[in-house]
Symmetry: C2
Subunit: 326 residues, 2 copies
């Protein structure tokens, strides 16, 4: 049985399944007509992401009563391929230099190759996902369309100090929580689970996805090099994350003006100033509390499902999403 002590080992087992399937996929394609494209895409694909989405897909399938893992593996891979496609394209417009500890694809091969490699990963993901029934395919396509809209919304609010919490949630629901929810819901559908169980898994995905993105955005402000994310990328890019939105709402007078100035004219020597303002507004605590709330809701959404090892692991992933360690 899965216990708190052996959860890590159980999760590693799922990650190994994903990593092995990805390696097989890469090897298979390196001998086909799309070898040039796979050659380009294989580095980022095998650079060892956390595999959150495909691991959740496997676990949701099991928790929904699915037994034959091979039935859901293509769906899990599709989630990772499409996610990786968005990373490759994101890195181009964010002008990121490194990803998963390696130079980004476009920085070594140029923007054109980055665009093509991302397109290729998208296409491969849809090829795998397209093997499922129409409701799943339609859901995948709608989710990806919403990723695009979430990204556009994010661009529209770059440097916009009037961004609201609603705007923020629309952005992260499109970009992050939606794909988590769809992966979990579709895994339940592949397991031929009841509509209620599918809805519970979808809800779990939304809430874990929101917690996951809020942690990411918080880390950008507090920094934690051990988690591989340099501090301040979002601030430099003018991305309006929830702690900033909160502080802009809470602060008044001189402090509000100072915060606006820090955000509009940010440089690394203003970290102390920014941190003090966010502390003063209680924005870190606020974000941490919201993360807890989303994790609690994710755990509650699992109540409906029968007890199983997979359900315990889903709960464990939700709890760990607060520290971004599977």
């Amino acid at each position: 049985m899965v216990t708190l002590r052996n959860a890590k080992r159980h999760l590693s087992r799922r990650r190994d399944v994903i990593d092995e399937a990805l390696e097989n996929l890469v090897q298979d394609r390196l001998t086909g007509t799309d070898a040039p494209a796979m050659n380009l895409a294989s580095d980022i694909l095998l650079a060892g992401g956390k595999r959150y989405r495909p691991i959740l897909t496997l676990l949701a399938f099991e928790a929904a009563g699915g037994e034959d893992e091979s039935e859901v593996l293509d769906l899990a891979l599709a989630a990772e391929l499409i996610h990786t496609a968005t990373l490759v394209h994101d890195d181009i417009y964010d002008q990121s230099k490194t990803r998963r500890g390696k130079p980004t694809l476009h920085s070594t091969h140029g923007v054109s190759h980055g665009i093509i490699a991302g397109d290729y990963l998208f296409v491969m993901g849809f090829g795998l996902g397209g093997r499922y029934d129409e409701p799943i395919v339609t859901r995948m396509a709608d989710t990806c369309a919403n990723i695009a809209s979430g990204e556009l919304l994010q661009f529209a609010h770059i440097g916009d100090l009037a961004t609201t919490p609603e705007d923020y949630y629309a952005i992260i629901d499109g970009k992050t929580a939606g794909p988590f929810a769809t992966a979990c819901a579709c895994a339940g559908m592949v397991a031929r689970s009841s509509a209620a169980d599918v809805a519970a898994l979808e809800e779990y995905g939304w809430e874990v996805g929101r917690a996951f993105q809020l942690v990411d955005d918080l880390l950008d402000l507090t920094g934690d090099v051990s988690m591989g994310k340099p501090r301040g990328t979002d601030v430099h890019e003018g991305k309006m994350t929830l702690p900033l939105i909160h502080a802009l709402t809470m602060l008044h007078g001189v402090e509000r003006e100072q915060l606006a100035d820090v955000l509009q004219n940010f440089s690394d020597d203003r970290w102390g100033e920014l941190t003090a303002l966010l502390e003063s507004a209680g924005s870190f605590d606020y974000a941490r509390q919201l993360i807890e709330n989303h994790i609690d809701r994710a755990l509650n959404s699992l109540d409906l499902l029968p007890q199983s090892d997979a359900k315990r692991l889903l709960a464990e992933v939700a709890k760990r999403s607060g520290s971004r360690r599977i």
Copy 2:
């Protein structure tokens, strides 16, 4: 019955079907959660392309005995959406300023928005295509993977005077002829046609696609503003098209050196020189003859199919592909 005289009207009818379906799709999405993405993508989508791929899809379906057009309409739209997605992304790395008579998406909205809009169009295309059976979805995904590989191969041969005809065909088969072949073959599959008829339609698609791309590449050298394509884009970009590859093979001594110099140091004042060298090598005639051959093969591949209006129109499209006028 379709005759030479009324073929144009019959083809227009199909284009109207496609244009109307695209307009409905756009309107539908402009009210949904992906409105921001559709807002961005609708201009290029409705800017009036020739709709070659979706028209061929409709005709292939009919020629294969399909009766209910609504069965194949999503496939036809998918072909156009995916094609448009590749145009939006191509325009970014080709740094093109105009497309279909309008400023390119990235030149008005920026590279990031161009990438996202292309991704969105891809995703929408796969969403529509994903409604069909697995063999069709797999085929679509493989075809798109080969588009990526064809584009990468084209990049690899930029400015490469040693490019062979085999390289050229691998590039255009991946980028252009493959999507034509897949559209026609899948349309036959949707019509529940025999394997032999599907193979005939696929063959037709390959050959029309090759003729289509060869004409495009020839027009780049001879120029024809009425067809909306400015002269010399490919030459400026160092793309090795078949007439150039032919001339590099045929010419020797001083002429070969002169051609290499023209291609490596091209500027608009060297058009006369380039044209004279291509004439001297017989490269225009060679390309025109190959176009005729591909059109003949496309017509021959139709022999197997029963007589029908759609078959006559497919033949008419093949013949007209020589002049790029549907």
